[in-house]
Symmetry: C2
Subunit: 209 residues, 2 copies
DNA sequence: TCCGAAATGTTGTAATTACAACGGAATTGT
DNA sequence: ACAATTCCGTTGTAATTACAACATTTCGGA
């Protein structure tokens, strides 16, 4: 099977015989037409999803009742894992943006899988890494000025990339979303920092001075 | 032993014979004088810490090189878990604020513990829940105005508490820190929202209108 | 109860930021 | 290459927010 080889490459299955493990995991495959809802906010789900093909949108309802796009899922991505493992009701909905195929795996069986303990260990590492990313983003978001947010972000990028010259994995709009600010305000602040000699950049490559 | 009964009550050990499991986990106990450093940023640690007694500060170095207090740990709290399970170098330092006693547990052995698979499952649930908290906080922090941050936060509190009348687990300074803003600015916005009839509150009890 | 300390609320000002509008650059598809 | 579209930078304005200073309230201990 084609999707099996793709699954076997996922970090969740590192060091595990994927085809054998899938039989243990109560794996179900689902097909969804574009526009169809995979998961509805408020429900509970006991399975994590792996998007085998297609694409899906993760949508949250904000305080005013308006739908907000939280993320877009592409093939190979894991989703709903935090809800499945915590048992908490879904705070978001997931809707197929295109015709999609999804593999559902029981969180409980991943957590305690006597034959494949590496699965739980892999899941733990994934969660731990995501935790670090989220914590780091919070660190930037809690700065009180946009200039500080930008510098905090670039500083941590420089740290993780190990170079003074860092490339940002977003466009300007993505960077603004990540930092929780307006795109044009971000551009203005970047220009100001450059004029003040605190920063230099070309497109998505930055250097803190 | 006294600390054993406390440990046994931790969520990590739910459904597990703690005293037996501790023998499997390469548990080491450490004693630290006030001011002593438990963990230093940049190093790696392969063990999670449980603060048995005392208190400790989690400190991060910001973009300017200034130490920033990220969290305070009290007895019974788990720490360094995301670093231990992910294998990433520490982004923070931990310093004993008082004379403290710490129990160190191997993350690897928790992750794959043939005799106590519930440990990994418990850890997974803890990580998943923390993920949800962090994600939710990010949701509030990415709003573009303070009023929206406040309403987003109170709205989600109301949801989780199931009542329209919500009590906030922080004082004003803590709430401002959580929302990444200045305390007095928060007070001003709260007063404005009340005057506009969008919100009512007394001390730490709020109602969205 | 009284005092002192800490937390909270208020106000004013300067700085920052959101937002809208627009021109120019870059990218994409044909 | 060309057109269309998307993305990016700039500007101006109104609104918001940080910050400092100070008044008031709350809280805990003597």
């Amino acid at each position: 099977m084609d999707s099996l080889s793709a699954i076997a490459k996922l970090p969740l299955f590192a060091g595990v015989d994927a085809s054998a493990a899938l039989r243990d995991l109560n794996a179900r495959e689902g097909n969804y037409a574009a526009g169809e809802t995979l998961l509805r906010a408020g429900e509970r789900c006991e399975s994590v999803g792996i998007l085998l093909s297609g694409g899906a949108d993760v949508v949250r309802e904000d305080a005013g009742g308006n739908p907000v796009l939280v993320a877009h899922l592409s093939a190979g991505e894991l989703f709903a894992e935090a809800f499945a493992f915590s048992g908490a009701p879904l705070a978001v909905s997931v809707r197929a943006a295109e015709d999609s195929r999804v593999l559902w795996l029981s969180a409980e069986r991943i957590a305690v899988s006597p034959r494949y303990p590496r699965l739980a260990a892999n899941a733990l590492r994934l969660f731990a890494r995501k935790n670090l990313f989220l914590t780091e983003r919070i660190e930037h978001l809690t700065r009180h000025t946009l200039a500080e947010k930008v510098l905090s972000y670039l500083y941590s990028l420089a740290r993780s990339q190990g170079r003074p010259l860092v490339s940002v994995p977003f466009g300007r709009q993505g960077m603004a979303d990540y930092l929780g600010c307006d795109r044009s305000a971000l551009c203005a602040v970047l220009a100001k920092l450059k004029k003040e000699g605190k920063l230099d950049y070309h497109k998505n490559v930055f250097r803190i001075l």
